[in-house]
Amino acid sequence: MSRTLHYPWDLIVFVIEVALFSYFIFVNAFYLFTAFVALFRLPDFVKIHRVDPLRSTGSALDKPISIVIPAFNEEVHIERTVNSLLAIEYAASEIVVVNDGSTDGTLAVLTEAFALEPFPAVYRVAVPTKEIHAIYRSATHPNLMVVDKVNGGKGDALNAGVNVARFPLIFSGDADSFYHPSTLIWMSEPFEKNPLTIAVGGAIAVGNDAIPETPDGKIEPQLPKGWLPRFQALEYLRAFLGSRMGWAPINGLGTISGACGLWRRDIIVEAGGYRTDTIWEDLEMTLRAHNMMRKQKRPYNIAFAPYPVCWTSVPSTFGELYRQRKSWHRHLAECMVIHRNLLFGGGVIGWLTMPYLMFAEFLAPAAVLFGLLFAVVALYFHFINIYANLLLLGLVVVLSILISLLSILLDQLSYRTYRSSLWPLLSASVLDFFFRQFIFVANLSGLFAWLFRRPFHGRKGSPPGINVAAYRPEPYRRALPAASIKTAGR
């Protein structure tokens, strides 16, 4: 197995091998670190809340929350989503659905299902948005409002919702997701316990298949039937329980998901609202909040509520998944450039989260591509040992399975998100390595699309998560006009 090494080429090869191996160790060390932090924190958290459950008391002292749901061409899901939001048990909440210039029957479905009537709402323009045509209120559910506006993308729709919202906390959700009745009780808890909390992220699970309810009203979600959604179910467990649950206790949470996030409204407004010139808005908003608070030297906390409160629909075909991940990676790239000053800028966010996002996420496709090219060239010139490479590949696969299994273990020790058999999830964790190669290709494509600034177009009927308006990169801007007051349609 030993080989004879000759100066200088073999030394160069050796250095590259060590660099690639070190990178691999660096990335997996992050995954294992967060998974182990979660493993120490989560069971205690669950045990405490089992003996002291958070329940709705109907108290007027609960912090009022505005639920903002941007919707673009969501006629299929919107009624179910709004019904699940109306079933949320919380004393003071209002629902603001923002119809972002849908070209399908989203507004008609809402009007029909919830008896919408024109409502002369007066709202404060704290962040600029595209024009609002009209605001409606439900005759059957007075706490439901629908804002009908010109299409401006998800960020713009959220900004319109923030303007119309009346309450100090804003819950941002997705129009194609389904929410647990206790969502707001569970997610508002960190705001009560720690006054420094500016945002709370919730855990998301895959709800592609039916979410049957038991006779006593309990939701018992089943694992999706298709392999692709199943891989994503595992991936979500890794992301939320294995990763975010590990980042949150050290105040290093980099993303509050757009499908399930609770924010202080004043922080969103102070930060200038959601950006409309990036493909997505959630990662950028979270990093901007970190950036703003650090610049102003204000203490803050961004928390995570590990309860699986949101079930979302994930892409079920390779094409949809490819487009979704491509856009996600492109957004990550945008955010890394916008918030590059955070990297090594101090604190957990600067020394851990940003290096993780930059090197283990953003640059990962480039590193993997370099590794693959190096392997091909080195094999061609017989610089490297095939056995050694296969061995390293084996190590990568084993580590990938280990991290997936740790996430499944975390889920079993906490909420057991999916009530169906464990075997599909276990087999997915073994095959997950191959799924991740596909994601690598999509991410790489997103990286190139960002590098070459290719226009991005959402398309009608595209999968959840990429229904965005036609996107063309613009120069990054941030200008906030003075707040004014407007009436809908004025």
Partner: protein, 356 residues
């Protein structure tokens, strides 16, 4: 040659790491499966147990089956939940029946045993149950953990103290003031357990002796006191306090229990330079404003603060409703169309929406 040795060493290390991690993965997979099977079995058993004991605690069944050791924790938590639900009901008989069953099933002894645990979850369960059962063995630990434990443990200990010793109200209120991590709605439920005359006195004393921040925190819970006591405390602060945040909190507290005579006391605050005070005053004026307040309310409908404008518009519409008039638009300037819109919105918000 040194590279060759390094390479061999590296390969050996990777081989060992891969094999070791492979073994760990296999063991972990077996562990996860075993855990799931066990959890499934426990869940099935727990479902049956909960069904059976819920019926027993609710008096729907007369028998009292023997409780196995491993089931005691589940039944203890079930009792805690059912008894917590019964707290808000007026059925003393149902509460006493549940307590009697818990004692006969020796839940109290089991809970007392948990008081020596170092696990916060066990302590919370034990203190909560013993507090509900009125078991004096929890008095000492409840006092000890009231200000020492984490958020949930300290609040549960304070609640147990309230249930077990009425003279602890003053101490608990001081904790409520200082422990800002306690969830307000839970504190409200907890304070409603206290005897009202004792709570009234303790709250009055705590508010008078607290700094501004503590007063603001405690004023939120004035709603748990009797209406006369709450009125008296809030009126006192409205008259004497100088800190605008405390004044605003006092006016808010007074709004829930205000009497018509309070309008004269509150009216001057409509002109306060502090928007929070104006806003708080408008809460009361919405209920008690008279036609002579209309000009002031009209000017507040054009205030710089958007929330003051909104509340002033609501107060004007409410005044119209009470007086069966419709002249509110006249009180705001033609030059401020947004104030007029705010009135239109307030009217649409406050009146029932026609269902077409």
């Amino acid at each position: 040659m040194v590279y060759a040795h390094a390479f061999d060493g590296f390969i050996w290390a990777v081989e060992v790491a891969t094999l070791t991690l492979g073994g760990v993965v296999l063991l972990l997979a077996i562990f996860v499966v075993a855990l799931r099977l066990r959890f499934d079995a426990v869940a099935r058993r727990r479902t049956k147990l909960i069904e059976q004991w819920t019926a027993i605690f609710r008096g729907e069944r007369d028998d009292l089956p023997a409780l196995r050791g491993e089931d005691r924790y589940t039944v203890l938590l079930l009792y805690d939940r059912i008894r917590g639900d019964l707290d808000s009901s007026r059925s003393l008989i149902a509460r006493e029946h549940a307590d009697e069953i818990a004692r006969r099933a020796k839940i109290d002894g089991f809970a007392a045993g948990l008081l020596t645990s170092r696990d916060d979850a066990d302590l919370i369960a034990a203190l909560s149950v013993l507090g509900k059962l009125g078991d004096l063995r929890a008095v000492g630990p409840a006092a000890r953990y009231g200000n020492a434990g984490g958020t949930e443990l300290s609040r549960t200990a304070a609640e147990a103290s309230l249930r077990l010793s009425p003279d602890s109200v003053g101490r608990v209120i001081a904790l409520v003031r200082d422990r800002e991590d306690w969830v307000s709605s839970r504190v409200e439920s907890m304070l409603r357990l206290a005897s009202q005359p004792v709570l009234d006195d303790a709250m009055s004393e705590a508010i008078s002796s607290s700094p501004a921040r503590g007063r603001i925190r405690l004023l939120d819970f004035l709603r748990c006191c009797s209406a006369p006591a709450a009125r008296s405390i809030a009126r006192g602060l409205v008259s004497d306090e100088t800190d605008p945040e405390v004044v605003a909190a006092a006016i808010r507290a007074l709004s829930g229990v205000a009497e018509p005579s309070d309008d004269a006391r509150i009216r001057p605050f409509l002109l306060s330079p502090d928007p929070f005070v104006r806003l708080a005053a408008l809460r009361i004026m919405r209920r008690v404003a008279s036609p002579q307040d209309a000009p002031v309310l009209g000017s507040l409908a054009m205030d710089n603060d958007s929330w003051v404008r909104r509340r002033a518009a609501e107060a004007l519409v409410a005044l119209d409703e009470r007086m069966r008039s419709s002249g509110t638009e006249e009180t705001v300037s033609e030059a401020d169309p947004f104030a007029r819109d705010a009135i239109v919105e307030a009217r649409a918000t406050m009146l029932p929406v026609p269902i077409s």
